[in-house]
Symmetry: C2
Subunit: 410 residues, 2 copies
């Protein structure tokens, strides 16, 4: 099964938009055992779009994302129609649907801008868009299924799940038997070494490693023609070797895993954040159902807020600095004593670009995790390389992993 994606849009090639649609589509297909064979990003330029269509024309399924809007730079619909030799025709039902979706706003837009999205290549199957105006389109041409999807994720995601998958699944068969394992709280080099040592010669199993912040993904795959037990045995061996560092499915992020453990043990957690500025709290509340175990956070970016809200002694900050293990200990004390959760996370660091000193250069970060009543506590200093964004993201990931590792140990 050869599935390709073409993403159309200047904004993807000028860096104005990060291509999250590719990751979404790849992930959905991978969950179904379907391997995306490649992706091409093309600018809003007819010639380049046609180049991409040519490259993909022998695939079984080509998913084309973006460029379906009403504006002059939206070229996907006419270009695909031209490439496949189909006429564009106004579809009255689509036009009425667009007008109904827009409601009163329709009156304020020029009629041609409204109707252009209702121009449909002959023979196309319409995928209704419940979250925007541009309909999705499916065109079957010789042995290839061409699918056109709108670019905005909130339009693409439901349309992909509800309309496109049911249309393509009956004609697909899985290529790969694959398992992705998510490891937390270990450095990448250790993970890789341990996987190699555990599996030895992996035989027909294909291994891929990938790191995102401090979460490491290990993907094991083999052609469907191989015996499934081989993969199962490998996963079993890795589960034994990695223990709690291997997150049980369906958890894909340390925050999700942490949330599940807190729910199970009926524990609550709060954060006291300096350099992460609310990033740890935001990551925790990304998890659906976080309200069951996360009552809130104190973002104490300024030193006087650390004192006012967390009772960190001014003398501690003056003596050791805001970025010190002493200050993070005091933040944890204040958090757990005043706000009465079972667990607490605290962060303080220098994310840059300013604020570094010879002693504490940019990237110096102190992270703490603690349980109430001094049941246990761990405070550690790190030095991260990289830019402000990356230092903040790694601090957030490290804080969640530090909590997770301690919870799993206690």
């Amino acid at each position: 099964m050869d599935i390709r994606v073409i993403c159309v849009g200047d904004e993807l090639l000028t860096g104005d938009t990060v291509n999250t649609n590719l990751a979404f589509i790849g992930d959905r297909l991978a969950q179904l055992g379907l391997a995306l064979q490649g992706e091409i990003c093309a600018p809003d330029d007819e010639r380049r779009i046609i180049d991409a269509l040519h490259i993909c024309q022998n695939a079984d399924v080509v998913i084309i994302v973006g460029g379906l809007g009403p504006t002059i730079d939206d070229l996907t619909r006419p270009t695909v129609a031209k490439f496949l030799g189909r006429q564009l025709q106004l579809d009255p039902a689509v036009r009425d649907g667009i007008r109904a979706y827009l409601g009163v706003r329709a009156a304020s837009l020029p009629a041609d801008a409204l109707d252009v999205q209702a121009q449909v290549p002959e023979g196309a199957q319409i995928m209704p868009n419940r979250n925007g105006t541009a309909p999705g389109l499916i065109l079957r041409h010789h042995r290839t299924l061409w699918a056109l999807l709108p670019g905005p994720p909130r339009e693409l995601i439901p349309m992909f799940n509800q309309e496109l998958l049911p249309a393509i699944l009956p004609q697909t068969q899985a290529d790969w038997d694959a398992v992705t394992l998510h490891v937390c709280g270990m450095p990448e080099s250790t993970v890789e070494k341990q996987v190699r040592n555990t599996l030895g010669d992996t035989g027909g199993i294909h291994l891929a490693f990938c790191i995102k912040n401090d979460n490491i993904m290990v993907r094991l795959s083999q052609p469907c023609s191989c015996r499934h037990e081989i993969l199962e045995q490998a996963v079993h061996a890795l589960r034994n070797a990695f223990g709690y560092h291997l997150m049980p499915p369906p958890h894909r992020t340390a925050a999700e895993y942490l949330g599940a453990i807190l729910t199970e043990r009926r524990l609550t957690i709060a954060t006291a954040e300096s350099c992460t500025g609310g990033g740890v709290a935001a990551a925790l509340t990304d998890v659906p159902g976080a309200s069951a175990w996360f009552p809130g956070a104190l973002v104490t970016y300024a030193n006087d807020w650390k004192t006012q809200l967390l009772g960190v002694p001014k003398q501690t900050i003056d003596t050791f600095g805001a970025v010190s293990e002493q200050t993070v200990h005091a933040m944890l004390d204040g958090l757990l004593n005043n706000y009465h959760t079972d667990l607490g996370i605290a962060t303080s660091g220098i994310a840059g670009p300013g604020g570094g000193t010879p002693d504490k250069p940019v990237g110096t970060v102190v992270v703490g995790a603690a349980a109430t009543n001094n049941a246990w506590r761990e405070v550690k200093t790190f030095r991260f390389n990289g830019l402000r964004d990356s230092i903040r993201a790694r601090t957030t990931a490290t804080a969640i992993n530090l909590m997770l590792a301690n919870l799993l140990n206690h």
Copy 2:
């Protein structure tokens, strides 16, 4: 100037990693007036990588990202060497550099894993890696410059800026004269209509629109052969038409622009967040230098935290609900009265997937922005479509835009 990017890695096609490297490279090139002509994502598969190399072989510059590591799925180096007919040779200086970078950790790794990254195609120019082990490589072959960069952003970004750009810039010339304008606080349809009305027939100017959360980018570009004044006049006309909704350069996000205004006016801001869970604070502290104007935030996810930290009357929550304009007004009162900043933002909403009711379905969000001493205040209710992530992200963007619009009006 034809510049292409090839990104190599199963993780990009299985959705385990979002391709932020493409956005980074596209953005850096766009800032230099260089238009990326396309991108291809290939899996860790020699045949697919060679397909991608074939497609790009007539370009002036081909930037290949990823697959340079020491593991068995890292195929970029040998595949490019094979494609260009170059032998791989152990480079002793690179090997020593890798051992020096790893320090004591080198002893714990197998020698072949260490040395594989020191295998360099003959004639390659080395780009040192100060943040990892895999060196970057530049190969000049006929008229094409092939550049190989490591995939981890913290290795790629400094190498791209410090090593690759100086190597390619002398042979480049800009293709496009382009300006990207960033509009805040207006719906996309209005932006587009106003751009069309203002510019009329845009003649040779190519327009592209792109929305990310509530920030809208309008990119105007024309071939360098056109007169620069045409573009300048268009930008001037748009500045007049959009007024303060058009962010002045170099600001690209509403948070950056807000930070600049706060710095200039010597104002401070804090946030009181429920459904965004620290996301507004995290977005504000993404801005370098935020400590000058952002002392902190109260993330009051649970109702009793709203009462304890912000003094929201329990009766207000019981009568009107936590997601109500009354509660958000009380959150703003508590924030500004107790924590003494000049400005405050508050959010409360139902991000889902649970928690919706017929009256207040998932996506119902209340956002408030206020100045101290009742100088001004705006509290508004929104209904956002989409999934949890998207509702939270739009709430964060809306809150910052609401503050910005009010500040620019007062």
